[in-house]
Subunit: 348 residues, 2 copies
Amino acid sequence: MIEDKNQQRTPLSELGEFALIEHLTKQFNIKHTSTVKGIGDDAAILNFEDNKIVVTTDLLIENVHFDLSYMPLKHLGYKAIMVNLSDVYAMNATATQITVSVAVSNRFPLEALEDLYAGIETAASLYNIDLIGGDTTSSTTGLLISVTAIGEVDGNDEVYRSGAKPNDLLVVSGDLGAAYMGLQVLEREKEVYKVNPNNQPDLEPYTYIIERQLKPEARKDIVKLLKDLEVKPTSMIDISDGLSSEILHICRQSEVGCDLYEEKIPLDPQVITVCEEFNIDSTTVALNGGEDYELLFTISPEDYPKIKANPSLTVIGHMVDNSMGVHLVTRVGSKIPLKAQGWKNFTS
Amino acid sequence: MIEDKNQQRTPLSELGEFALIEHLTKQFNIKHTSTVKGIGDDAAILNFEDNKIVVTTDLLIENVHFDLSYMPLKHLGYKAIMVNLSDVYAMNATATQITVSVAVSNRFPLEALEDLYAGIETAASLYNIDLIGGDTTSSTTGLLISVTAIGEVDGNDEVYRSGAKPNDLLVVSGDLGAAYMGLQVLEREKEVYKVNPNNQPDLEPYTYIIERQLKPEARKDIVKLLKDLEVKPTSMIDISDGLSSEILHICRQSEVGCDLYEEKIPLDPQVITVCEEFNIDSTTVALNGGEDYELLFTISPEDYPKIKANPSLTVIGHMVDNSMGVHLVTRVGSKIPLKAQGWKNFTS
């Protein structure tokens, strides 16, 4: 589906490991004074003075987490960073450094890795992140990327999943379900392509949802917005596995229940249209789709006036006593217990 | 070769991701006050107060970095941690936390992952490390492990590769070449086993070198010893790719030359015997074998009296002016330029 514009193919065996790392990382700049020493020694040295630090890591594996038949390598590099930064922002922290380890089989030429690192560099540049280390090696089959992201927290600004209280409002950034529907469109076009490689798909009606799948953005802006509004969430999590699963994490760790209002769930019009086209219920998609990388958080009711006018934030429910359970309140007013259906990687 | 004593096979699909991580990590304890929050949120929170931190990461991939036909999973878990801690110690730092990401195909039952994590837990316990995060996912083929290790440095104790000066002494801990010869023995026994699976190999003469391959130890003790002796190395690196490659790193980054004395290179008697058996030159093995995980460092000549009596440390050469180059001085006194032959993973 994606045309290979890059005709040059330099085998990785032409470079050694150190030359390869040097080549791939030479365009990266160090931006933070907390990065005392980046790439080039046994380990990086960081100095956050008296700030606390945040550490998170994620692994992306070909044909499990991504499909290179429709995921350009540059986008993949970008997305691998976003997935990790999203976890840093979910702690109400500032992301500052990343390490990136990549394993590739010999079917990837140097130019493919250059594309991957171009995406990583774009992300690092836009989100003001230093690349401070990593590992580059061969794999026996596909491509895999392991990223560790590091951030810092001022004072006691960190926000856990565990601080929600009954009566707190449940708030989500952006809109939900688009990344999942983007994936459905890409999977469908892949099948069409298999049957007829000459078919030129018209992806114009799907631009937003495809972009949400291929090039998600971590919500750095929301962490800043909350700071500007002087709102410290009582709990926070990022939406990687679907709204349902994340609400259940907050409820379990905060020992509260929740009423989530179906009619409040923010959906982009394109998601609604494409859900109709695919004959899928849009609420189900928002609840279980995943990969939205929006922030889900709870705030004290007193903070409501500060956030209510903001178009990036939607109140979608409120927390209740633990004994009352976790429910979706449907458009017709009935209550359905919420279940997580997110992660199915190990399903045989 | 290694008998599968573990007859029970619980498919990973019986557990979800979160239940799996909980199950595998429940026996890990938090030991450091710097670990404010470990596993269980979007990210870990660490607090090193005003200490600098050290970050390093390494990726281990089945059939590239290890062969499960002779590497027990428990040992693999242990070794994956050692490889990373070794890099932390090479900065003259104290290792404090790790994240561990694992991808496995469905051919691995839960019991296999339990063995892997038992090895990780043993390492974490012996080396006083907190497991603070990670990712567990499925892979399309083999097993891979990505570890990030974090450490802390008191004051300005960190040591880079770049501080060596002419006349500094070159010092190595332990002995060299054993892990490589252990691998040769294991590879040979694997071939024998393929031909005759009933053959019971007598590995008694190879216990030391096999242990060095299957269960290396990172030299935490050397960092402590140097502190006790009040010696701060001028440069340091760990030996993962072979002595030759590591000396060249120090020389290039410190802008110095080096005379390395062949007769001084510490070799275990078992390495010498097995090198004769395999008809391999033991110096070549020490120079290019790799996986020793010993520390290589330079010290100021004034510090020589402090270290000379120590059986764990051997002076193997001295640094010279950059213009004089990097040489091996052979037993007969001739000088041979040193070349790196370490890393060949991408050789097609």
